[in-house]
């Protein structure tokens, strides 16, 4: 379980992005974090993965305080993070990146398994460089595969649907469904209804505050009502 206790994060210029946020993300489940743009979703993901450090507050993983741990230490504890905007590398190949992620060499069959899950054909991509020659959709799939290659207990995906065409997206939804069945803790930042529909738990962030959280069955109707009304979801009162 991931727990945030009274977490604040403020930009150096003073703008408050996350404000006194406390929430618990259950272990072994798929939690979708959603909400309007600029609501603090990506910052929440970065806070958990250690890419940003809270101004105040605590972050716990399975009861252990990880607030003071850096990115590498958290990664080694079993937290993986798929970037919203994947990073490009001149020279580093898809295979090289996925092997760095796995921490070992990967056989052709293992590469096939990994890239197949994200809709890429291994033969076409193993030697491709993770550079500007990959399209937005291709590099996003490689990014997701880099998280899958680690197979860690916690995986965070920041808008995995961005840049993925609708045909491949079906496969991606199946990947998340399968990981969920394997008992992996997943945090998926998304606006995609198809992903929200397979969530166990939904967290709604807005304006740096927790607007709503709970099982999908309870939270989702409010989300859709908000969408129809054309304004931010108001949600239920958390804890009610």
């Amino acid at each position: 379980m991931i727990e945030l206790r009274n977490v604040n994060w403020t930009l150096p210029e003073g703008q408050e992005i996350i404000s006194d946020l406390s929430l618990a993300i259950p272990g072994g489940k798929l939690t979708v974090v959603t909400g309007p743009n600029g609501g603090g979703k990506t910052t929440l993901a970065k806070l958990i993965a250690g890419l940003v450090t809270p101004t105040s507050g605590q972050i716990l993983l399975d009861g252990r305080d990880i607030t003071g741990l850096d990115v590498t230490q958290r990664a080694r504890l079993g937290i993986s993070y798929g970037f919203q905007t994947p990073v490009r590398f001149k020279g580093l190949t898809v295979q090289g990146l996925l092997e760095a992620a796995a921490g070992r060499l990967l056989s052709f069959d293992e590469m096939c398994d990994l890239t197949g899950k994200v809709g890429l054909c291994t033969a076409d991509y193993v030697d491709r460089e993770v550079d500007a020659s990959l399209s937005g959709g291709e590099i996003k799939r490689v990014e997701i595969a880099s998280v899958l290659a680690r197979g860690t207990r916690v995986s965070i995906f920041d808008e995995p649907e961005a840049g993925i065409d609708m045909w491949s997206f079906n496969g991606l939804v199946e990947v998340f469904r399968s990981l969920k069945q394997q008992g992996m803790t997943m945090v998926v930042i998304s606006h995609q209804q198809r992903l929200i529909e397979i969530a166990d738990e939904i967290v709604v962030l807005s304006g740096g505050h927790l607007r709503d959280q709970g099982p999908r069955e309870l939270v989702m109707p409010g989300l859709l009502a908000g969408e129809i009304a054309g304004h931010c979801p108001v949600g239920r009162k958390v804890g009610a």
Binding site: S80, V87, F89, K90, G91, T93, R150
Partner: protein, 311 residues
């Protein structure tokens, strides 16, 4: 066949620069401390002394030769050796061959060890040559390890030369000069990878003239400069007809290192399409961050990025 005249230092250097595993398959000429440690010709590839009486060799590849490799590595295994060699390559029409020409310099004393190879490539119509060159410097002495290769390339119609050069450490000073003249539909491809550290200096100069219609060149240099090392990249690409020329210098700079890139494009024809790209900068922070999210430390991430960049 084992080459008995090799000394242990040369043998080790050859493993690194030319993949030597106790023998070379095919034609070879091995230069050791300004002398010849071994030579063999084959039916299609003849290696003979330089006709002008200069130190060095001529390599003659018969027209139509396919798939053969010729090894011409050079080693300097001690200080106070200033080796100068002239190697000429005559590649027959339609031949497809690989030339492996590594160079290793070693000094354990204060004496300077220098290898200066002057190469001329006469590549006939339709021939396709891959030239692989790996440089390494080693040894514990204070003497400088210098490698200064000069290559003059003459590509006839439809001929192609791919130069793949690697210098990943240990060489205190290198000054590489490559000139090329391309006839119609000829193509020159250069891939250079360079790593300097400490007080090392490395200069690369390209001067390519595309004379023939539809000729093309692609010159790509990737380098990493660390410590207080200095690198200079000069390229001049000249288009005299309808042609396509591309040169790129991509450098990662760290510490107090200095990198200079100075491209020059000269179009003497409105149909000459010439492009130069140059990018110099430190390793992007987001690249390190990404690899750290995979469990690598900052140092491991930097090493991985450099390894990929210079692959």
């Amino acid at each position: 066949m084992r080459i008995d005249a090799l000394n242990p230092v040369a043998e080790r250097l050859l493993k690194t620069v030319a993949g030597y595993q106790g023998e070379f398959k095919g034609a070879y000429n091995i230069r050791q401390d300004s002398g010849c440690a071994g030579r063999r010709s084959t039916d299609n590839i003849k290696i003979v002394p330089h006709r002008e009486g200069k130190p060095g060799i001529e390599v003659h590849v018969a027209p139509g030769t396919k798939g053969e490799t010729v090894f011409i590595p050079a080693t300097v295994t001690r200080g106070n050796v200033d080796d100068l060699t002239y190697n000429d390559f005559y590649i027959g029409e339609g031949a497809e061959v690989t030339i492996v020409a590594g160079c290793g310099v070693h000094t354990d004393d204060a004496g300077e060890a220098r290898h200066n190879g002057v190469h001329r490539f006469f590549i006939s119509r339709g021939a396709d040559v891959v030239y692989e060159e790996k440089h390494i410097g080693e040894g514990g002495g204070d003497g400088k390890r210098n490698i200064d290769p000069v290559s003059d390339v003459y590509l006839e119609e439809d001929a192609r030369l791919t130069i793949d050069t690697v210098q990943l450490g240990g060489v205190d000073h290198s000054d590489r000069v490559t000139t090329a003249a391309l006839k119609a539909r000829a193509r020159l491809v250069v891939r250079e990878r360079l790593l300097t550290s400490g007080e090392q200096t490395a200069t690369t100069r390209f001067d390519v003239v595309m004379e023939g219609e539809d000729s093309g060149c692609d010159l790509v240099s990737r380098s990493v400069a660390r410590g207080r090392s200095r690198q200079e990249f000069f390229s001049r690409v000249v288009g005299k007809a309808r042609c396509a020329g591309h040169s790129a210098c991509d450098a990662i700079v760290a510490d107090e290192a200095v990198v200079t890139a100075a491209p020059q494009l000269d179009a003497f024809s409105p149909d000459a399409a010439l492009i130069h790209e140059a990018a110099i900068g430190k390793i992007a922070g987001e690249q390190i961050l990404k690899l750290r999210t995979l469990g690598l430390t900052e140092e491991e991430a930097e090493a991985k990025i450099v390894e990929g960049f210079l692959r």
